[in-house]
């Protein structure tokens, strides 16, 4: 029983917390305003006027579409690889105790615990030593490596909440391992995998640091944006693309949140 229930926070704390959250959110909302500005050359604030013409201009830019398409394809393949590897790893680590278990969980986390530039340059120097030319697959190789951890984290959390006795019951009732996986394990972890997959997709879709090292001449959407930030060509188009990127990444995050939130009440969790 908490005695502070209903008690309200000190005013100073409220202001500090609200201020912190505003600090986190205002800059992102500004992007939305800039996507409609009539100003072409500079970052003038407030916008002299509002227009939707830049959406049409952006729509007709083949380079934006090419970058978007590459990003989506890379993210899709990386997500699939990460789903397979992350789920296998999570199942092994959460079900049994074995020698080297800690090492495995460290191995999965390492690609995001170390700065991205290390992963990037390590892959690049390995490609050059092994004389692998840059391609679609070199990008996927890097992305899948750091996407595994997101799927792994989601799956491990769900495996821990799923009762092992359900698997035993299924086997006792005569199902073989594959049937048990298909009808008992998979339905239980499905939403966690979906959430992990969406986060992995968002992570890959947004990744820029590792990609700069593994992409060669190809442009994913973030690489395209980086180019525009360093050598701006048509600023309003960048504004529109930035807004689209925010929307494309936020939707899977929200979906993933709702999926894992409901997951707390999933069958077997309280047993």
């Amino acid at each position: 029983m908490r005695s502070d229930r209903g008690q309200s926070a000190p005013l100073g704390l409220k202001i500090a917390a609200a201020g912190g959250l505003l600090f986190l959110h205002l800059p992102i909302f500004l992007i939305f305003v800039y996507a409609f500005t009539t100003e072409e050359k500079s970052f003038v604030w407030p916008p002299p006027g509002l227009t939707t013409q830049w959406f049409a201009v952006t729509w007709n830019r083949p380079d934006v579409w090419a970058a978007l398409s590459l990003s989506v394809r890379v993210a899709a393949i990386s997500t699939i690889v990460a789903l397979v590897l992350g789920t296998l790893c999570a199942a092994a680590v959460s079900r049994t105790r074995f020698f080297g278990r800690e090492t495995i969980s460290l191995l999965v986390i390492l690609p995001i615990a170390l700065p991205g530039i290390i992963t990037g340059i390590a892959l690049r120097s390995a490609f050059s030593l092994a004389e692998i030319p840059f391609s679609f697959w070199t990008i996927v190789l890097g992305h899948a490596t750091f996407c595994v951890v997101v799927v792994y984290n989601n799956a491990v959390a769900r495996f821990r909440r799923t009762s092992g006795s359900m698997i035993e019951a299924s086997m006792d009732l005569g199902a073989d391992g594959f049937q048990t996986f298909r009808h008992v394990v998979l339905p239980n972890i499905a939403t966690a995998l979906l959430a992990g997959g969406m986060l992995a997709f968002a992570l890959s879709f947004d990744e820029v640091i590792v990609t700069t090292f593994t992409a060669g001449q190809q442009q994913t959407l973030p690489i395209w944006m980086l180019e525009e930030l360093i050598r701006p060509r048509q600023r309003p188009v960048t504004n529109v693309v930035a807004m689209v990127v925010v929307l494309v990444t936020l939707l899977p995050i929200l979906a993933a949140y709702y999926l894992t939130r409901d997951g707390d009440q999933i069958a077997g969790s309280g047993k």
């Binding site: 309200s8 959110h25 500079s42 495995i104 390590a122 390995a126 820029v208 640091i209 944006m225």
Partner: protein
């Protein structure tokens, strides 16, 4: 082989084995959990081991090569010469600058994160709690480049910050700050101040989450007991809350510190021409073509983070992750 494995089991099964190839395989895996474990672990270990660890070793190996100053070719002979180059004054300067920035960013993130985390852990309930959680997760996950771009819009000379300060008649304050030697510059978007602000902004959510997790484990009656015993809010914070939140802060600092050490895009887009480690790595491997020196540079954050993680583990920060 499958049959032999089944027969070698001394205790007779209560049920007969399942029929068919699939059934036999399923039985085998049920009886031999270690085989199942091996099959499950093999793909991820092969992938991460070859692609990731293999690459890291390739990188480490390259740092012991050197570059021929005349031909620009890489000399594949073991030498410590490249590490010697790392100790030149200009390079040490880069390392020192980056580590100082990482420390300052970590400190500022902890200060800003604490009230948010404390409010979310102790006062937010139900719908508000969910709102706070999303309020931290959305900026954490939203596009890294877009966030930097947004700050370019805010900090540029003709941007929002100047406009706001002009409205408040505080432009003299900004001009005064920008005229200072190290932190200043032509505008905030080309100064260390700008780099610092954007670093704090981008990594802040990584600090809030572990601090909130640590604070959530502090029982509310501990705070009340402290004030019942006559402690002022400040004393309660210093002697009760802060020590209990410290593992969370250290856990968060692993991210803020490590990410700042390695980043090269933020200081490139918002900052001065004086380099950070990440930028040095990028330019050494790219324009300069000196992969050994780039590799030696990346060893610096790896070593620093190695010590950092070791220290953090001793403080129990890993339980707060």
């Amino acid at each position: 082989m499958t049959i032999a494995a089944l027969n070698s089991n001394p205790a007779p099964a209560i049920l007969p084995g399942s029929g068919g190839m699939r059934g036999a395989l399923s039985d085998l895996l049920w009886r031999k959990p270690s085989l199942l474990l091996l099959l499950m672990l093999l793909p991820p270990i092969l992938w991460l081991g070859i692609v990731y660890i293999g690459s890291l070793f390739a990188l480490l190996l390259q740092s012991f090569f050197s570059i021929d100053e005349f031909s620009g070719l890489i000399n594949r002979q073991f030498t410590l010469k490249t590490y010697g180059d790392l100790l030149q004054a200009a390079n040490l300067d880069i390392i020192l600058r980056t580590v100082t920035m990482a420390a300052l960013v970590t400190l500022a993130s902890a200060v800003i994160a604490f009230p948010i985390a404390y409010y979310a852990a102790r006062y937010a309930r139900g719908r508000w709690k969910a709102l706070f959680y999303l309020g931290v997760m959305l900026p954490l996950w939203s596009s890294y480049l877009v966030k930097i771009y947004a700050w370019k819009l805010i900090l540029a000379k003709e941007g929002i910050l100047t406009w706001l300060l002009a409205k408040l008649h505080l432009l003299w304050l900004l001009d005064g700050w920008l005229s200072l030697p190290i932190v200043g510059g032509n505008s905030v978007s080309v100064s260390f101040t700008g780099t610092f602000i954007v670093f704090v902004y981008v990594w802040l959510p990584f600090m809030i989450l572990p601090v909130q997790a640590a604070l959530e484990r502090v029982p509310g009656n501990l705070v009340e007991a402290s004030s019942d015993l006559g402690a002022s809010p400040g004393q309660t914070f210093r002697n009760v809350l802060f020590p209990l939140a410290l593992p969370g802060i250290v856990a968060g600092s692993i991210f803020t510190f490590s990410l700042t050490l390695g980043d090269y895009i933020i200081p490139q887009i918002i900052g001065t021409s004086r380099l950070f480690i990440g930028q040095a790595v990028y330019s050494q491997q790219g324009t300069a073509g000196n992969i050994p020196l780039a590799a030696a540079f990346t060893v610096v954050p790896i070593v620093i983070m190695g010590f950092y993680l070791w220290g953090a583990k001793r403080m129990g920060a890993f339980d707060a992750l």
